[in-house]
Each structure stands twice: as C-alpha cells, then as structure tokens.
Amino acid sequence: MIERIIVLTLVKGSTYAILASGLALIYGVGRIVNLAHTAFMMLAAYGIWYFAVSSGWGMIESIAVTVIGTGLLGLLIYRFLINRIREHHAAVLLMTIAIGMAIQEIIAPLFGSTPLNIPLLMKGTTMILGSPVRDQYLLTLGVATGFVILLWLLLSKTKLGIGIRAVAQDPEVANLMGVSVSRILMITVGIGTAMAAVAGIFLPPLEGGLVNYMWLPPLTMVLVVIIIGGLGSLKGAYIASFFVALIEGLAVTGFPTHGYLSNAFAMLAMVIVLVVRPQGMFGTMFEEERL
C-alpha cells in the first residue's frame, strides 16, 4: 500500500518533472504559458508508436527521430504562430490551446480512437526492499534525474545557458548586452518542446494507453505543478512535481473507483497555494510586469 504510493509518486513525479521543466523554461524565458505542451508530448508518443510499432524501427532510433522532430515542430509553430502575438497573454493562451486541440483533431483521423500501446523500454522487475518495482519505472526516475542534471549543467555552465538566464531575467538588457533575444527564445522553445517529447516515452504507459484526448489530464496536472511551484521557476517545478504526484497517488489509492478525482484534489491544492501565496512557492513578482 505505502510502497505503491511511494513508487507511483516517484514515477509520476518524475514524468511530471520532465514535462513541467520544459513548460517552466518556456514560461520563464518567453512568458508563454504553452497549453499545447502535453499535446506535443502526445504527438511525440504517436510518433514513437508510428516508427517503432507500425514501421518496425528500433526503439532508440524512433525515439531520437521523434524527439528531434517534435522539438523542430515546436520551434516552427512558435516562430510562425506565437511569435507575433507574444505580447498578449490571453491571445497566447488561446492560441496554444487551439494548437493543442488541432493536434488532437489531426491525430484522430490518422490513428483512430482506439488506445494504442507504446512498447516499454525495459520489461523486467527488480526487487527493492522486498517489493517488486518495474525496471521501466526505475528508468523513468533515472532519465528524469539525468535531465535535471543536464538542464542544470546547460543553464549554469554553458554560454547558451547564461544567455537563456539573461533573457529570462530581463530581455531588454540582455538584448543590449548583445544576446540575440529572438534566437535564444527559439532555442528555448525547441528545448522545452523536445523535453515534452521525452516525457512522451514514459507517460502514456502510465496513463493506460495512447488516445487522442489523453493530453488533457496531464495538462491540468502540469499546470497545477508549475503554478504551485511558481511560474518560471525550475526548482519550484521539480519540488511541486513530486508534491502533485503524491496528491494524485493518495487520491488514486483513497478513491480507487473515482480515479478522476485526483485532478480535482490537485487543483484544490493549487487554489490553496494561490490563496496563501499568489505567486506560487518559488515564483517572483515583477512589478514592471503588471498589466
């Protein structure tokens, strides 16, 4: 019972962490709340299914192709659809949700509406402290940790990372310092979308298969994650991922017949956090950003 909650929390939490860090990165740098984020995740999952199951490629090749492809697609969509309305919060929210719904509706006639299964990367189980844990779960945790470290190295050690942080702090000053703001934005959106694609490897098996509307429940969860963590804060996103996954694990175990209540509990937690701290746990209030 308790082991199951812990395992579920860690595994779900790490997939949420991969998703949420991409979303937080895009918000932090571009001030874009990308509601199509999990739609890209779902698109990547369909891509992996198409290459690995339908076309018979190896898992590794299909994952590599889809992750890069999704990143590029996200970048193009940003460049041609979002860039010119970036200043208007409401317009961006509407545009991204429209993109997400368009992805959902394009997938339906292409792949049908019966649930598909993405093959697991690792099939066995390992005994940890006397309870069996699937290797896929351990891999999810490992990949999430790896991505946290990679992202931290990228942001703190490389020139690109310093540019990204500079734009996140103040785009105008970064521009004056010779950072090409538009290019940094495009790269960040590409990285963020590619991270959503990575989550597409791990999340669909946990959500019980791949259908064209499966992007909505994770979307609400990830939105709750980045709001509880504070929009734009990577640290907050990581901590909140596991917090939200814990709430979900408790709700699923406590109300086994009402699995859909987990969303409601997570959102209730978000409302409480926002009442106490309007900027989330680790978010910052920028006075000059008032509208």
């Binding site: 309305i85 949700i97 368009a102 939105l223 009402h258 969303n263 409601a264 900027q279 008032r290 509208l291």
Partner: protein
Amino acid sequence: MSDLLGLFRRPLRDFRWSVLPVPGRLLAVIFFVFLFVFPLITSRGYPMYLMTVAALFTIFAVSWDVLSGYSGQVSFGHALFFGAGAYGSALLYMHLGWPPGVTIILGTLIGTGIGVLTCFPALRLRPPYLSLLTMAFPIILERIVRSIPKDLAGGNYGIRRLPELAGSPVETYYICLVVMVISVLIMWKLTDAGSKYVRTGLIFHAIREDEIAARATGINTIRYKILAFAIAGVFASLAGAMYAHYQSLASPANFSLLQSFLAIIWVVFGGIVSIYGAVVGVYTLYVITDFIRLTPAAQYQMLIMTVIIILILLFMPEGIAVWIRDKLERECPRCKLSNAAWRKECRACSANLR
C-alpha cells in the same frame, strides 16, 4: 393621439438621424428585426433549435466579454457559471419539483453566488495565474458533481428529463430571444464607457488598462472586480439554467473546459471588447460549426474551428465584426461621430473626411 405620436417621436428621430446614416447600426437593427421574424421564415425543427441555442450562447459569450474583455479579468473557466446555473436549477427541480420559471431564477442566483465566492482567491492574481486559477474551478466542480451518487445529483450522465421552457418550439424561441435581447442591452449599458448615468463601464476600462492607476485615482478596484464577476455570473448562469431546461438535461459537460473555451473562441472570433462582436461571433461561428455536423465533414468540426481561431488570431486579431465595421464606417476626425465610409464629409460638422 398627439401623446401617442410624442411617444414615438424620440425613437423615430433617433432612428432617422443616428441609425440610418451609420451602416453598422443599421445592420444591427436589421439583424434584430430578422431575429424577431425568423419563425415566420421557417419554423422547422433544426433551424429553430439552432437559433434558440444561439440566443442562449449569445448571453453566455457576451457575459464572458464583460468579465474578460471589458474588465480584463481573463477567465478560462466561464463554464463554472454556466454549469452552476444549469445544475442549480436542475437540482431544485429534481428535489423540490418547482416549475422552470422559479428554478431558473433561483439557479441563476446559485450560479452567481458560487461564482462570486470563487472569485475571491482570483482578486489579487496576475494575468496568467488568474486565467489558470479560474480554469481550475469548473474542473473541480465537474469532478465533484460526477462523484456524487446518481440519485442525489445525476452522476455521470447528468440530470435528465427537466421540464421544457414552453410548450412549442416557437414559444421557446421567443422566450430565449427576449431574454437574450434584454440581457445584452443591460450588459451593453453597464459596459458603455461614455454613459452619463452608469459609471461601471468607465471603471472597468480603467481597471483593465492599469489597475494600479485606477486604484490611485480612488476607485475601489476590488469592489468593481467583484461586481464584474457578479454581472458576468448572473448572465452566464441564466444562460446555463435556460440551456439546461431547453435541452432537458444538466450534464457534467456543462462544466467542461470546452464549454469555457467556446465562449472565448466565439468572442475572439467576433471581436473582443465589443458587445456586438460577441453577438456576431455566436451567430456566425456557432451556427456555421453546428451546421458542419450535418455535412460529411462532421468529424473535422473541431479541427475547422481551431483552424479558424488560429487564423483569426494571426490575421484579424480585432475580430471579424470590428474588422467589417472598420471597413464600413469612419470616425470624423473633428467631432468623433461615426460616418459611412463612403461619405465625403461628416454628416454633423461637414468636416472633410478624405
């Protein structure tokens, strides 16, 4: 006799001098006359259904425009009011068996109450937080409604077999139309920034443009934001309650994310921050997309809608109604009166318009 003429003289004069020369206003009058004579043109089932639902959705869309367009509190969970109104009146009928006239009014009050209660956490939030927070409430309420046992609140399939609004479709149509016209008129007057009698329009504009500046000029912005939520709540839950009775069904789908987004899509399509834009948006986009359901392209209905909204955001961000109005009318540079675009000089002060 002369009294009767006197009663009509003012509207006639207004019509002669302020409506006839301005093509946009003339079109609006023609449109409403068309709505009132519509059952004479056809009273077949589907067109009547379409126009009745369009009237109810117009109330819903315009109320979103009042809250999010005019006072700037961009809500992504407007279905909260809609669903609360629908469920409020449906539950009253289910447990107490009251007639629709009573349950709709009480359901509206319940919906407004829930809406105003939930707006309190939203009052001090910045824009993206506010939109995402408002998105949460209808989802929470939907889950709660679905998890309550079937004999208490209908469960997954909602509360069915509600009494109809009126006996015949034509009668129902006129009830919905009259309620729509009155609601839209009230919301139009409340948000009219140039009004001499009601200050809310001007204050909503001030709050949207710069809340801190509005507070600095002595406006109690919190009070007016609650008022904006309440106004939007009244009309959106009224639309929800009437919609539930019209469909004889209050379902958890009334709370869905799609229901919230439909309002936004219609208003943005027609033109945000303009009451007539919302009306035009519903009566064009809703009618078109619902009509697609009957054609072979039915499975692409949502796709067509999303493509339309993406194109509108990119190329006509002010909305289609405002875009057309700008093509038909021109504002006089001297006296700020609107003129037909093809006039050479202003109709009031004869300033040169070319």
